[in-house]
């Protein structure tokens, strides 16, 4: 079966700084794929390259068997940025409507999707408020709703649950799992280990390199450890040793 997202030897440098080093990733359709790593490890850079908002210095990115960047492809990708990029002087409703009209949606579908997405993130009662008056958590939720607005085949979520209270986080994860059951592919970045447990596949990123990948269970059995946190530390440690030897 062909992969939904495939990165082949993707490297990225900003000036002299190598932020990503020869990354290979395959994400199969219908999976929740987690990119886990400390902040500054290159996760955001990686997902931006997948969406096509940034160019890799070398290497190739294919999404749905199409070379990135591609405008048509963006119709099938829902992206939630790490930093909320919202129009503060517009209401939640207007933000949703604006982004919805950037996708090819009929009027009825648009209305339906706005209601659905707002309800999902529990923002329906706040839709007529200006985003200016939203709390940090509400802004995150609105960003997530915008990512879902056009019912995309692929969801790329950059640290979606940061600043969201545990209860809502739980309901968001329930929704992610439900979306997966609909056959959607989800790529999620996080630095929280317990979220990593919920992914089907994981790639651990450190300093722009993938230090380990596989399902949470495989990773744990491979290192013979029960917590992913320790896997991360151990995989990182081995890497360091290898580096020292080579």
């Amino acid at each position: 079966m062909t992969s939904t997202i495939e990165l082949i030897q993707v490297s990225k440098s900003f000036g002299k700084k190598n932020v990503l080093k020869a990354i290979n990733i395959k994400v199969d359709a219908g999976q929740i794929f987690g990119l886990i790593g400390p902040s500054g490890s290159g996760k955001t850079t990686l997902v931006k390259i997948i969406v096509g908002m940034d160019q890799p210095s070398t290497g190739q990115v294919q999404v749905l068997n199409t070379q990135v960047p591609n405008l048509k492809l963006l119709q099938s990708i829902g992206y939630m940025a790490q930093a909320d990029a919202l129009y503060n002087d517009l209401t939640g409703q207007e933000n949703l409507a604006f982004f919805a009209s950037l996708y090819k949606l009929s009027k009825e579908v648009k209305k339906e999707r706005i209601a659905y997405a707002a309800n999902l993130v529990e923002l329906t009662p706040h839709l007529s408020k200006k985003v200016l008056n939203y709390s940090g958590g509400m802004k995150r939720r609105l960003s997530l709703a915008i990512a879902l607005i056009h019912d995309p085949q692929i969801l790329i979520l950059d640290e979606p649950t940061v600043g969201i209270d545990p209860e809502l986080r739980k309901s968001i994860w329930a929704e992610i799992v439900r979306l997966k059951s609909e056959g959607k592919t989800i790529l999620i970045t996080t630095h929280v280990m317990d979220e990593a447990e919920k992914c089907d596949q994981l790639a651990m990123v450190r300093d722009g390199e993938i230090i380990s990948n596989g399902s949470p269970a495989t990773l744990k059995s491979h290192y013979n450890i029960n917590s992913l946190e320790e896997v991360f530390l151990k995989a990182g440690g081995e890497k360091d040793e290898n580096n020292r030897i080579s």
Partner: protein, 368 residues
């Protein structure tokens, strides 16, 4: 379709931002009004102190719209000027006339000097005429038989006619077309530039690149969105200037609006283009002295012919040079559309180039 979504959004944001709206619509009117009253108000008549001059000269000076104040004795002119708030003092010492000018306002001093010289030469001419008449009489008495045909020289009547403007024309009449264009240019530049800049700094422009919007959709969305407000602003400013301030408008009002719209278009595109090179509102303001203020100098306020060659070349790259000339042509000289079409085409050319540059500049965000 996506462009329309962007236009709608820009409009909502603009209407909500009352301050910016007021800046765009009202500020040009306030500045124009102030300048109108400042520049077109009559300069007050120069005050001249006079000491020891003959009666004929004083009469002549009074003819010249000068406030003449006579002093019987004079200590020091400097002292007198300060105490009596004079613009100059004229003293007769023997055969010598001394004029002391305050010169705190050089243009007023020049005017005063010219008037005094004119008065003196008029008096001289009159004296000469009387002397001549006496001379002729004397000769006639001594040689009664000789026919003397000395025709009195008739002073030629002079009437002045004006190709542009009339005797009432003030500096403001020539300046105001340029100012109208400049304010449209300036405010449209600032507001559209900061509009797109905000989109950059809040990350929403980056976020847009994750949607299927095309770079040209963004440029045209901004162009049409802010363009609508620029049109409203242009119409308000032009109507206010011509109907309320009664600025001289000889040509067609529609041509004035047309030129201003072309200027607004260029300003809008220049604004969003330069915003690509600014990281904050303050950096956007830094473009004003570099990209905007010099435009005024080349817009026709300073005489173009007097500029050094290289400056004349620089002027050709300034949109306001074409806009200012076209506006003076229509408003002050009454030229028609046919006379200004070249200027309009050049402005549209600027706009076209800026559109392309804007679309290219957005490549920084997404290659396609």
């Amino acid at each position: 379709m996506r462009t329309i979504a962007l236009v709608k959004r820009v409009c909502i944001q603009m209407v909500r931002d009352k301050r910016t709206l007021a800046l765009m619509m009202v500020a040009p009117l306030v500045i124009l009004t102030l300048l109108h009253f400042l520049i077109s108000s009559d300069p007050n008549t120069p005050r001249l102190g006079v000491n020891g001059a003959e009666e004929s000269l004083i009469d002549e000076l009074k003819e010249k719209e000068l406030k003449v104040i006579q002093f019987d004795q004079l200590k020091s002119p400097n002292q007198l000027i300060k105490v009596k708030d004079l613009d100059g003092v004229l003293q007769m010492e023997g055969d010598q006339l001394n004029l002391t000018l305050t010169n705190d306002d050089p243009s007023k001093a020049k005017l005063l000097q010219t008037k005094v010289m004119q008065a003196i030469s008029t008096v001289n001419a009159k004296e000469q005429a009387t002397n001549l008449a006496h001379f002729v009489e004397d000769i006639a008495q001594q040689q009664p038989n000789a026919p003397i045909n000395l025709n009195q020289i008739k002073m030629p009547e002079m009437s002045t006619s004006y190709i542009y403007g009339n005797s009432e024309t003030t500096f403001f009449d020539q300046l105001s077309p340029i100012l109208v264009g400049f304010f449209v240019f300036f405010f449209v530049f600032l507001i559209s530039g900061i509009g797109l800049l905000r989109e950059r700094t809040t990350g929403t422009l980056d976020r847009l690149m994750a949607t299927p919007i095309q770079r040209k959709d963004i440029v045209f969305g901004y162009l049409i969105g802010y363009g609508l407000f620029a049109i409203i602003q242009t119409i308000i400013v032009v109507f206010y200037a011509t109907k309320v301030l009664d600025i001289m408008l000889i040509g067609s009002l529609w041509n004035v609006i047309l030129i201003n719209l072309a200027l607004a278009l260029v300003a809008l595109l220049l604004g969003i283009l330069l915003s690509a090179f600014a990281n904050s509102e303050f950096q956007m303001m830094q473009f004003i002295p570099i990209a905007i203020v010099p435009q005024v100098f080349f817009a026709g306020i300073l005489p173009f012919e007097g500029m050094p060659d290289w400056m004349q070349i620089v002027a050709k790259f300034m949109p306001m040079y074409y806009g200012g000339n076209a506006l003076v042509d229509v408003m002050y000289k009454g030229f028609g559309l046919n006379d200004i079409k070249n200027e309009l085409f050049v402005l549209l050319g600027f706009a076209l180039i800026f559109i392309v540059l804007n679309i290219v500049a957005l490549k920084k965000y997404r290659k396609i």
